[in-house]
Each structure stands twice: as structure tokens, then as C-alpha cells.
Amino acid sequence: MNIQLTDEERMIQKTIRDFARKDLAAVADEANREGTFQDEIYASLAELGFMGITVPEKYGGVDFGTFSLVLTLEEISRVCASTAVAVSVHNSLANHIVLKYGSEEMKEKYLPRMASGEAIGVYALTEPDAGSDVSAIRMSAVKRGDEYILNGSKIFISTGDKAGVIIVIARTDPESKTKGMSAFLVEPDHPGFSVGKVEHKMGLKASSTVELVFEDCRVPAANLIGEEGMGMQIALGSLDGGRIGIASQALGIAQTALDEAVLFGRERKQFGKRLVDFQATRWKIADMATNIDAARLLTYRAARMRDEGLPCTKEASMAKLFTTRIANTAVYDSLQIHGGVGYTEEFKIERFFRDARVTEIYEGTSEIQRLVISKQVLKEYEQMYPA
């Protein structure tokens, strides 16, 4: 497994790094303070091709892989983790699902609009009673003529109010728990769709999180993704990519925590010594750097495996579990090194501290990741040493 970057990947990394440090950094602080979604940033990202990273050329994308997406999300998150949310969901969930499960007609109709950034793709799975337990989904979809009628609501939907395309998992058969779900592609102007409650979150302030309401929402039958009953399969089949995406976001957050700790610790003096000259600081720096390297290796490995078409459910979950954990310890330690000023909005670490927290919750909680990993590990042992 080669985790070195190719020439091309280095070029992609340079472009997104330069963009993040210049264009994104110029607006990130204010956007997060005011809680505004940066339309022009997404427009620029789309123009540079970042909204169609894994989409093939014939549908208007650039046909690079998951690995390039990881580099992209990592660099964006080093500057603004909020911005990475929409880029991750759009690429690793929405684009991916349409590409993998959509009909040719659907791909031709929607992917060019999604890859060009004209339509931001969002993913609507969570419901008040269905979070980690996907099979508890209640939202109904009933076929009537050449339409499906959707009823119910989805909560905690990232960027839901800016969506051009919404991937919705709903129940087509109330009798069957796991096989009774289906996936739909909904457009915001389909009758009966509306945006509900807007959440006020602890972090990721420049990324909106909303409720989506479907009241007798009429969706063309052609917008069923795959076949009826494939909802669970589609929901679970997209998780690997989504988890690698959030691991990349956490990786960027962790890297900035270390960067800020070292830069601050070199300047700040107490008792006549720089903070980085105290052993207490040194140990934190060593732990952060080692954890970040390990997290990067896990995340890059998962991405490479996914690009090579290898099963990577365990590896994606390990990357997500570990990286989101060490991101939270890194922001904690970095803030500790900053001391009092780190607790103020004057210093970047305050925002990153808040942004890091949710990475251990969304896209599968750490508890769910452990469930996935242990299941896979036990399966491997079952094969090696049958009971």
C-alpha cells in the first residue's frame, strides 16, 4: 500500500492548500462568528473542480479518487472545518450514491449539475427516532401513479437549506424493517418540501444544520434510486466514504491544533522560558504529533483501499474512530498550552476546540465505529479459527 502522494496528488494538495490559506482564511473567522454559509467559497471550490472530485469526466467531474478528496478535506479543515462538511457530504455521499446506484438517466440529469456545484448535494437519513439505528426510519414513501408521495421529517441535515439535490432514505414497505426502505433523489422545488427548524450548534457555525419537512411531497417515480427496498443497502454502502471524509476533517482540525500550539508555545514566555522549553509542553507536542501521524496513516490507507476497490469497512471505521478521538485530545491539549487566551475568540484554537467535538458523533458515533470494527475483527477470527 503506497501512501506517498503522486505528482498529481501533490498538485491537487497545493491548489487546495493555497486556496484554503488565502481565500478561505480571509473569510473563515467572520463566517464562523456570524454563522454564515459562504456561498462564494463554494462557488470558487466548484469552479476549481472540487465539487466533482470523484465524478467521471463524462458527467462533468474530474475523476480523481477518494485519496484526492481526503487531501482536499484535510486542507480545508485546517482552515475551516465548517466548509469541509458540505464538501464531504456532497462528494462522498450525494455524488457517490447517484453515481453508484442511480440509473443512467438520473446520472446524466443530475451529476453534471452536482459536479459543477450548481446543485449542492445533501444526505437526509437521520430522524428523531432513527439515529445510529437506521432501521428505525419512519418517513414513508407511497407510490401513486408515476410519483412517490413522501411524508415525514428528517433532522440534523447538514447544509439542508442550501441543497439542490437531497438524497432521502424513506420507508416504502412498513412490513419489512430492513428491506422496506428505499432511497430517493428529491429536489427542493418538489411540491411539499420545506426547510424546518434551524439548529444552533456548539461548533461548525459556518455550516447550517436543519430539519427537512416532507408533507405529501411529490417526487417523480424516476427519482427512486436503484430499486425499492435498496434503501438500507444504499445507506450502509455509503458509510465507508462518509467516514473517511470525517476522518479527513478531524485530521485537519488536529493538525491545526498542533500548528497553533507550537507557534504559540514558541512565542509565549513564563518564568523566563518559552512554553516549548518546558517538558510539560514538550510531552504534549510529542503526543499530538505522533497521534496525528498515526491518524494520517490510517486515513490515507483507508482512502487508498477504497480507490483500489478493496473492502475497507473496518479500515474506514478505524480511521474515523482514531482520528476523531485524537483530534479531540489535540484541541484539548493545544488549548491547555494556550492557557487563558485559548479560551477566548481571539485565538483560533477556541473555534477548533468546539468544531472537533461533533466529529466523534456524526457520521456514526465512536460507539458505532467500535461496533463495526469489533464485528469485522470477530469475523476475521471466525474465518481463521472456526469455532
Partner: protein, 263 residues
């Protein structure tokens, strides 16, 4: 219109520069290399000119440098440059501006040109000579430190501002012309993902000295680099410390008068 943009591979502006043991170059291990930042303004201006003039206009990048220069050439191609010539020969290790200008002149003549853009200087050697020697070799006018560039509608001449001490100088030049670019001329575009994808299929013509008709590296001119030295270290710093500030000030005044002899 045939537009040439020159580019040089240089250490990243953020790289820490250390002189190698032999004192004839820098330590390259761990150093990231980029397109000379002033050359990026040239690339951008070349691309804008092509977009404006349209037709069968073409932008060709010419780069003389080691094999590793491929990455910066590909970056230029990803920005939108159409194709590239890479002059690469072991005999061109650490070339002087004279040598490089001679070689570039030959390669550019073979390509044909109406206008040449380059950076006002390499951010590594800071010699700022190549473009002027090249203008002489090609026998064309040169305009250095351009901050504004416009081409007359009939494509006959260029009207430019060039940065001079305290302001700009407005000048006019006939074509063909070589223009060295100053910061502020434009805001160079990023290499987009579609650009990076297309760059894979674009041609880089690699030429060595023999391909360009040279038997050996052209003369390095009348100056010669003898040795590279590290930045001189700053003088010793003496900290004045005392329990009370007033005592420290007295001591500082005494040192300035008696030791430094400046007051």
C-alpha cells in the same frame, strides 16, 4: 499569437535555506520546490492574453532546469498553458544567466514567438539578468518590472506600466517583446482540478544541449560564482538585567557610552 512564458523551479518561499558542505549550492533534502512566484504572474498574463486574442493563439512554457522540474512544468500546464519545452542537460547544473539565456534564446527561436513573459527575477538567485541578456540575444525590446500590460487592438504594440522607485513609468513597446513581471500585475489563477486532469495529456518536449545544436554548455559570461556563504550571523546581544528598571536604564546608558561609544 505565439506566447512564450518562462519558468524556473525554485525553493518554496517558506523553505529554510542551508548551504551545502561544498559551498556550491543549497541542501535540497526536505526542501519543497515551486514555480518562481514572479514567473506565475507571467504565466497568468500569458493565459489572459491568449483568452483575449483568441484564434489560434497558443501559450508555450519554456523551462531550463533539472529533471525534477517536470512537476512545476505540469503545474503550469494545469494552470492552462498549452504545451512546454523542458531544457534538461547535466551540463546545465548551476548555470549562469549568460548560459541559460543563450540556451533559452535557441529554444525560443525554434518555437517562434510574438511575446515573451517571465518573472522580474528568480526568487532563489535574485540576479534578475536572464531576461535582459535574452532580449539582447533575440534582439528584441525588453520591458522590466511590468505592473500593467495591454496590447493594442491591432496587436502591433504593447502598452505597459513598469514599476520604478516611487511610482510607475508608462511605456510602449513594439512586438516581439520580452516582458518581466512584477507583483501586482495580476492575481495568478490556481491549477484547477480539470486543469490538472488535462495537463496529463499535454506535451512536454524535453531537449538536451545537443538537441538545441550546442556541443557544450555555452560560456558563463564574465562573472563566476566562487562560493556560497551562509547569512552572516548578527552581532552578540547583551541583555541588561537588574532588579529595578531604573538601574537597568542606568547600566544601559553606561554601556552605550563606554562600550558601544554611540552616545
Amino acid at each position: 499569437m505565439k506566447i512564450i512564458v518562462l519558468l524556473k523551479r525554485v525553493p518554496d518561499t517558506e523553505a529554510k535555506i542551508l548551504i551545502n558542505q561544498d559551498g556550491n549550492g543549497i541542501r535540497e533534502d526536505g526542501v519543497k520546490f515551486i514555480i518562481n512566484t514572479y514567473d506565475e504572474y507571467g504565466i497568468e498574463e500569458g493565459l489572459r492574453l491568449k483568452e483575449k486574442v483568441g484564434g489560434d493563439s497558443k501559450v508555450t512554457a519554456v523551462c531550463a532546469g533539472p529533471e525534477e522540474s517536470t512537476e512545476v512544468i505540469r503545474t503550469a500546464l494545469a494552470m492552462g498553458v498549452d504545451d512546454a519545452v523542458h531544457i534538461c542537460d547535466p551540463a546545465l547544473a548551476k548555470p549562469s544567466p549568460f548560459t541559460i539565456a543563450e540556451v533559452l534564446a535557441k529554444a525560443i527561436s525554434e518555437e517562434g514567438f510574438d511575446i515573451i513573459f517571465c518573472g522580474k527575477q528568480g526568487i532563489d538567485d535574485d540576479m534578475a539578468q536572464t531576461q535582459s541578456i535574452l532580449a539582447e540575444k533575440l534582439d528584441i525590446p525588453q520591458v522590466n518590472n511590468a505592473t500593467v500590460f495591454e496590447l493594442a487592438d491591432d496587436l502591433s504594440k504593447a502598452v505597459l506600466n513598469r514599476r520604478i522607485e516611487g511610482g510607475d513609468e508608462k511605456v510602449e513597446a513594439s512586438l516581439p517583446v520580452i516582458i518581466s513581471c512584477e507583483k501586482g500585475l495580476n492575481d495568478p489563477r490556481y491549477a484547477s482540478l480539470p486543469g490538472i486532469m488535462k495537463a496529463k495529456k499535454k506535451e512536454i518536449r524535453v531537449k538536451n544541449l545537443a538537441d538545441l545544436g550546442f556541443n557544450e554548455a555555452p560560456s558563463s559570461g564574465r562573472s563566476r560564482v566562487l562560493k556560497w556563504l551562509p547569512m552572516p550571523k548578527g552581532g552578540e546581544c547583551k541583555m541588561v538585567e537588574a532588579e529595578e528598571t531604573v538601574d537597568a536604564v542606568k547600566e544601559l546608558a553606561r554601556l552605550l557610552r563606554e562600550e558601544a561609544k554611540v552616545v
